[in-house]
């Protein structure tokens, strides 16, 4: 039965690796890899993911196959078979773990820092295009500052979804808010850095765009932001990844990456609708 275990384990290990290597679900049209990256920072994350995949994949296969091999060889031996000790004993194992895993950690850790720093340690450029995102149960809204380049202040007590005052603006008393443009879709210009100011209206939410390689929580009471540059015109899904209540699965919006000219006219049209 030990041999059966060994063979089963080897088969499971190899079958497990196939979808990762081929990026498909056993030859079907179902893609199991991250979609094409459309950001300037994403390639570093993708490189890191690929390197980790290689290191983890090799460790996974080596460990499972070695386990299978030892069980194959040493299970169900005769009761008087000689007991042998692995050459070098525990010392070899301890050194191997420290050297192999230590190197792996250092390599991944140091390389990974760079990918992380790309996203978080560099502040948004001074001329980045500022947009405010608000997440609430169960919709995203986006606000553009309008012609004056300034966002009006938020007044939670003035939020009135029935009258489309999603952010709680007070145009009667606050001149800066009068030209603010509010949209359910996040339209942004291509190849220009966007600085997304994040505001949670009620509970925790998250902003996740697979293609942008961006995921950031909205946390009630915290002023958080992310910045990114999209490099490819197109429409992409923004989904919520922080459990926020019964409509969580359906909380989504679209990211619409437009050419600068198309974006300008989109913004102009939105302004006229307000």
């Amino acid at each position: 039965m030990g041999k059966l275990f060994a063979v089963t384990l080897a088969v499971i290990a190899i079958l497990s690796a196939i979808p990762v290597v081929t990026h498909t679900w056993y030859g079907s049209a179902i893609s199991l890899s991250p979609p094409e990256d459309i950001s300037t920072h994403g390639h570093a994350i993708d490189d890191q993911l690929r390197d980790t995949m290689v290191e983890a994949g090799v460790s996974f296969l080596a460990a499972q196959l070695l386990l299978a091999f030892f069980v194959f060889k040493f299970a169900d031996r005769k009761p008087d078979a000689e007991i042998k000790t692995f050459p070098g004993g525990a010392r070899v194992m301890v050194i191997a773990a420290v050297v192999l895993v230590g190197t792996e950690i250092l390599a991944l850790g140091v390389l990974g820092q760079k990918a992380w720093a790309n996203v978080y340690f560099r502040p948004a450029a001074p001329d980045a295009f500022e947009i405010q995102a608000q997440a609430g149960q169960f919709a995203f809204y986006f606000r553009y500052p309008g012609a004056d380049g300034k966002f009006g202040a938020l007044h939670p007590d003035k939020i009135d979804e029935g009258n489309s005052n999603f952010f709680g603006l007070d145009p009667a008393n606050d001149a800066e808010s009068r030209d603010d443009i509010v949209s359910g879709e996040l339209a942004i210009p291509v190849d220009r850095e966007v600085h997304l100011l994040m505001h949670a209206k009620d509970v925790g939410h998250s902003f996740y765009v697979r293609e942008l390689r961006i995921q950031q929580d909205f946390v009630p009471g915290l002023d958080l932001s992310v910045h990114f540059t999209a490099t490819k015109v197109g429409k992409y899904e923004i989904v919520c990844t922080q459990l926020c209540g019964l409509g969580h699965y359906n909380m989504k919006a679209y990211l619409n990456v437009l050419s600068q000219a198309d974006f300008d006219s989109w913004l102009k049209q939105k302004a006229s609708e307000q």
């Binding site: 039965m1 089963t8 509970v203 899904e237 699965y249």
Partner: protein, 587 residues
């Protein structure tokens, strides 16, 4: 330390009445079995909940027979609502993490075997022990009662992130009384765990019999001891966290709720709190909790592997030091659950490093286990198969940790099915394999009956293949960006992935059904299994020196004397290829 105090144990005589013997028992063995029974009930409820969720995910409009009886509002006509899906998800996670993964490998087996393996006749504080179990049972009843309150069970997941969990029924159905009951249940559970941990620590330090030095304790006992130290510190933080959550909910405080929130059109009357505070407190408990689940399984698996291989591990000490190292590091890594939470991005790197470093002791242990297989005389039994299955699962669940430990990759994989696959394999399945191995190994000792080995092996094969079929695909789904905790997949990029989910659902139903073989074997063998000898597996530690099942006072009023390290296998002695710990004979 061990010499004199072992004599000073307070003697208590065997009770005769049913209540004192089987219900409010002070006997650590009965309490161990009670914990095991409670975990068994919890695991079957949790498993059925996972079936319901898996069915709903792939056949959302199919009415599940009988479901409307459980909740008319939650599943009108048997088709569950999105909020009821989240309720089942919350209850599944809470039951499994607290009442199964904490109770079974640690409280159940630890209670039963820790005193025996160190030669004590009971725990240090038998009354505390009884109170621990019944407090846990109370926590379980409070949690289950949330199924029956008018607006349903909570929907905020087992992590209960504020402010969803803190602002009350405005944030959704189940967030009224159901969520309060959840917090109360965990609060009570924490009290029970703290009492239990103190008892384990005191027992290990004070009640070891003559000759049972720390280094002569079996690895399983070491694992329970280290786990109780972790548990003491972890639950001591979750306890006040739950209290603060309850206060936010019922007393109008604002520990986790900031100002200016508008939930369901209501401006919340709170100010000054921080949702991140809950996350820090919760994960300060939550990450060590992973090791509370897995360390006892490591100990049990080591104990069983050594017995099955008929040789000691390459190093007993390295395993123990690694478990201590993992326990220590487990307190420095909680922030890796919060890389995208908005905490300072510099701290992400600080939390990432020790997370990666944990891989070193984990790899050392794996290599020691595997290297010990080399040249051994491995006996294949249901217990040893599950122990080998544990090794395989531990490796599979461990390598995916490499991805999630890196903040840059976590940006993409956070909150996807990759995470679900990772923690189910390493914390769920691996720990449960440890429990199965322990059950097949110790059942004869605990009940006096042998389990059916053939059924045990069949159970292993179906479970081993089945769990890989369930949890491996989760990793691929995560790589495709499949978000977790969705009650339906309606997004354009998720719809094409549904066939993979369908495969997982079939595998979950199949694997779940295979557990009925285990349950049948357990019940049948308990009553009809052949009588078990004192030492059916030719083991060396003290539990095998006494009849099966052990008498009330374990060692018949005597104090065993220990002469050897716990694992004298592969030696030549009058008994065969092993030497019992209490045998004065020299190999």
């Amino acid at each position: 330390m061990s010499d004199g105090t072992a004599q000073a144990v307070q003697h208590h005589t065997a009770p005769t009445g049913f209540i004192r013997k089987h219900v409010f028992s002070l006997d650590h063995k009965v309490i161990g079995l009670q914990y095991y029974g409670l975990a068994l009930v919890a695991v079957f409820i949790g498993m059925v909940l996972s079936w319901l969720m898996r069915i709903h995910l792939v056949w959302p409009s199919w009415p599940i027979p009988g479901l409307s009886l459980l909740s008319k509002a939650g599943a009108p006509g048997g088709v569950m609502t999105p909020e009821y899906y989240l309720s089942l998800l919350t209850m599944h996670g809470t039951l499994m993490v607290f009442f199964v993964l904490t109770n079974a490998p640690f409280a159940a087996f630890g209670n039963y075997f820790l005193p025996i393996q160190i030669g004590a006749e009971d725990m240090a504080f038998p009354r505390f022990n009884m109170v621990s179990f019944w407090t846990t049972f109370l926590a379980f009843c409070i949690l289950i009662s949330a199924f029956f309150v008018s607006d349903g069970p909570p929907i905020s997941g087992w992590t209960a992130y504020a402010t969803l969990s803190a602002v009350g029924s405005d944030s959704g159905p189940g967030e009224g009384l159901g969520q309060t009951l959840w917090a109360l249940s965990i609060f009570v559970f924490c009290i029970a765990s703290l009492l239990g941990s103190l008892n384990f620590i005191a027992t290990t330090l004070d009640l070891r019999t003559r000759g049972m030095t720390l280094s002569r304790m079996p690895i399983s006992t070491w694992a329970w001891f280290i786990t109780s130290c972790i548990s003491l510190l972890a639950f001591a933080v979750l306890l006040p966290a739950c209290l603060l959550l309850i206060l936010d909910r019922v007393a109008g405080t604002s520990f986790f709720i900031p100002a200016g929130l508008v939930v369901s059109d209501h401006l919340q009357p709170h100010s000054g709190g921080s949702p991140l505070l809950w996350q820090h407190l919760f994960w300060f408990f939550g990450h060590p909790e992973v090791y509370i689940a897995i360390l006892p399984a490591m100990g049990i698996v080591s104990h069983i592997l050594i017995n099955s291989m008929r040789r000691p591990l390459l190093s007993h000490k390295v395993i123990i030091y690694c478990m201590m190292g993992i326990g220590f590091l487990s307190y420095m890594v909680w922030g890796h659950h919060m890389f995208v939470s908005g905490m300072n991005p510099f701290s992400s790197l600080v939390f990432s490093f020790p997370t990666l470093v944990i891989t070193i002791p984990a790899t050392m242990m794996t290599l020691i286990w595997m290297g010990s297989l080399y040249g051994s005389r491995l006996r294949i039994t249901a217990a040893s198969l599950f122990a080998l299955g544990f090794l395989s699962m531990f490796v599979s669940g461990g390598v995916s940790g490499f991805f999630l430990a890196q903040p840059s990759i976590d940006i993409y994989l956070h909150a996807t099915y990759f995470v679900v696959g990772h923690f189910h394999m390493v914390m769920g399945v691996a720990a449960i394999f440890g429990v199965f191995a322990g059950t097949y190994f110790w059942f004869p000792k605990m009940t006096g009956h042998m389990m059916n080995e053939s059924l045990g092996k069949l159970h292993f094969w179906l479970t081993f293949i089945g769990t890989y079929c369930i949890f491996m695909p989760f990793h691929y789904l995560g790589l495709a960006g499949n978000v977790r905790r969705y009650s339906a997949f309606v997004d354009d990029f998720l719809v094409p992935l549904i066939p993979v989910h369908r495969f997982v659902t079939y595998a979950a139903l199949f694997t779940g059904a295979a557990q009925l073989i285990f349950l049948g074997n357990l019940v049948y063998s308990r009553f009809r299994g052949p009588a078990a000898p004192a030492n059916p597996w030719e083991g060396t530690s003290l539990e095998w020196t006494m009849p099966s099942p052990p008498p009330f006072d374990n060692f018949g009023g005597k104090h065993p004397v220990v002469y050897h390290d716990p694992y004298q296998y592969g030696v030549k002695s009058s008994t065969g290829d092993y030497l019992m710990q209490d045998s004065p004979e020299q190999a």
